[in-house]
Symmetry: C2
Subunit: 398 residues, 2 copies
């Protein structure tokens, strides 16, 4: 194993992202093609330069995404018969695992230029075909036992409160920050600030998580053009480099529950440790300028602060309380508004987070721009499962 | 693009395969673990050597395969929390695309030893959740128009008959050959010879395809241990090398039907052309000793002879009629019995075909052994879609 095999071998030379939301005026194909075309235009290359592609779509049975069942969908929308396209799917970490496999192929020297498309539609759903319904009828063991995602993350919030004194106000502060940021990103699903009172008084979903503690279900697509780092400067003026993309898949508790903690995600801790080792990072809080992390619920963002090593375990609530993750803080987290406000079309999210970090590192983030002058380095954290798969990506300016 | 990037960089040092069939006494986890354990024992290594894995499972909603929704299933059954596991899915070519992505990661120098598991259950199906039913309700455009797989391949058979004089007897000869071979492979689903009359008099499924022209739906799993070629000799006595694994994804006809032929698969032609170029092969019939090809229907095997360049277009029927693809022929095809007799658990098939070629090249194929003395080279052909995805792999003895 050589964790440095990816380091600075692969560049991101173009990215695209649709508006996220309930895109009932766009088909799965239309939203996917929009993201790809934006990425191609951004890179300034013709589609014929693309030699292979990876599609990240989590569940084509949810409704509207059926064409994403396999890779031929991408060859179809591009009108590029013959393009090799792999579909990757790995719960909510699907997007970053597609990025990972694509980056590996470039690092292997097999391809010079490849495409990654994260694409998902979740809103065109007849309720009898809904994801939750399918999961319940076909068998995820946690959900079968009555543990929906809000139920499970609610339990973790309770445990964090009992263990470390985290409060509902701390959770609400994550929502307020992410709504503040999302209100400033033109492609976010929710572009509206909220107050602490609004968050605290919202309808309860699963104690202690209220409506504003939960990310929405969304439609959306995001695309990336990757190329050999040594070709990047020939192809484009502005690009970033991949330092590391590391994944950890932790058992889902199917065949005997391990003695897992409810106050953190081992998958995040392992993936982060590997990514930091590959990039030579010892103090994440100093080494990273800006981060997009997987805030499917507000408690998840607090757990992420700790699991990613921004602060020690138990100090996540203080990190938000003291404003350290705000746009003006010492490590701005989710300048885009996060899953909470940008939206969470499952297979798209990891690629969308990379899009946001790409914008940030290139200084193109407009009203959501964080200072990125410490190291010119950004982090993406994509979690799935719940908690059974994590991919951490590190990117930096050349 | 460097199509030689894989060539001889990756070895297969161990393989395993379950009995194929209606495995109602085994769960998805049990059959998957059985294949992995056999591969580990064959390689003579401990599971802790595995640094990453790729899971090929096509459709976890079919019934019984739900744990294969994402990679954590593999970490679960191995009891290896932290293992990075990607799930790949690409219609019936899922297994070989998983092999391809795994091989790329080793060629990239990222991992030394990786696992590929193809795993699918198709028999534990309530009819309302059946694959065909889901496809019909959720939208594959061909199937929605009434074209089931037998319907589409039946049309192709008719076209081949009209164009080249291929007969129902020629199709039946493929079934007779594959049943002859399958009867000799201890892990095949159908281990029974049939006569030409039996094939010709069987119930009609979709004109001109009768029951014996169609592969069955099956449960099964197959696994491969891949490692850096330069480590192979340290780890094991017997191994084979990957020369090339090339994929082509042709548009599925969703957004405007291209002017495609019904007498062949462009995906196969393209993937084969790329693989032959990567391996420096000019005359496949001379360069390849043994092949496992995707005979989902008997007509498909005849089309494959032509699309893979074993004979010119239109001469596929003569190839079976003259016995050239039999165990004693000049290029034995499907010595295992093929999908037709070995069975076709979708995500497992590509890995299972590789298992058979591995057996053949190592001289371990017992009653199904073909002579492999020309070049010590075998071919695997895995098709999906229908016809929209193809992966061709070339393997040889070191």
């Amino acid at each position: 194993m050589n964790p440095n095999a990816l380091r600075d071998k692969v560049a991101i030379i173009g990215m695209g992202c649709t508006q996220f939301g309930a895109l009932q005026d766009k088909s799965f194909a239309e939203q996917g093609l929009e993201a790809v075309n934006e990425a191609l235009a951004d890179a300034g290359i013709e589609k014929d330069r693309i030699e292979a592609a990876w599609l990240g779509t989590f569940d084509p049975n949810v409704g509207g995404s059926f064409p994403g069942y396999a890779g031929d969908f991408v060859a179809d929308i591009l009108g590029m018969p013959g393009l090799p396209v792999t579909r990757v799917t790995n719960y909510c970490a699907t997007g970053m695992d597609a990025m990972r496999n694509a980056a590996i192929s470039v690092a292997a020297g097999l391809y010079d230029v490849v495409l990654v498309l994260g694409n998902e539609k979740m809103r065109d759903v007849a309720s009898r075909d809904s994801l939750i319904r399918q999961v319940v009828t076909t068998g995820h063991p946690l959900v079968q036992k009555g543990l929906s995602a809000p139920g499970l993350f609610g339990l973790m919030a309770r445990r964090h409160m009992a263990e470390f004194g985290t409060t509902r106000e701390d959770l609400a502060r994550v929502a307020v920050k992410n709504h503040y940021n999302g209100a400033r990103h033109p492609k976010a699903m929710f572009q509206k600030e909220i107050s602490l009172e609004t968050a605290l008084n919202a309808p309860m979903i699963s104690e202690p998580l209220g409506l504003y503690d939960c990310c929405p279900t969304s439609d959306g697509a995001a695309a990336a053009i990757l190329c050999r780092a040594d070709l990047a400067a020939e192809l484009t003026d502005a690009y970033i480099l991949i330092e590391a993309i590391e994944m950890a898949t932790v058992t889902g508790g199917r065949y005997g529950r391990r003695n897992e903690s409810l106050i953190g995600f081992e998958a995040t801790q392992l993936a982060a440790k590997r990514a930091y080792a590959a990039a030579g990072i010892e103090e994440p809080i100093r080494a990273i300028d800006v981060a997009e992390v997987h805030d499917c619920f507000t408690i998840t963002e607090i757990l992420n602060y700790e699991d990613l090593g921004f602060v020690p375990k138990g100090q996540g609530a203080a990190f938000i309380r003291e404003g350290r993750s705000s746009l003006e803080g010492d490590l701005p987290v989710n300048p885009s508004g996060g899953l909470k406000c940008f939206g969470h079309p499952i297979g798209a999210s990891g690629v969308r987070m990379t899009y946001v970090i790409y914008e940030q590192l290139l200084g193109r983030a407009g009203n959501t721009q964080a200072p990125v002058n410490k190291n010119g380095r950004g982090l993406v954290h994509n979690l799935g499962g719940p908690g059974s798969v994590c991919v951490v990506g590190l990117y930096h300016r050349p």
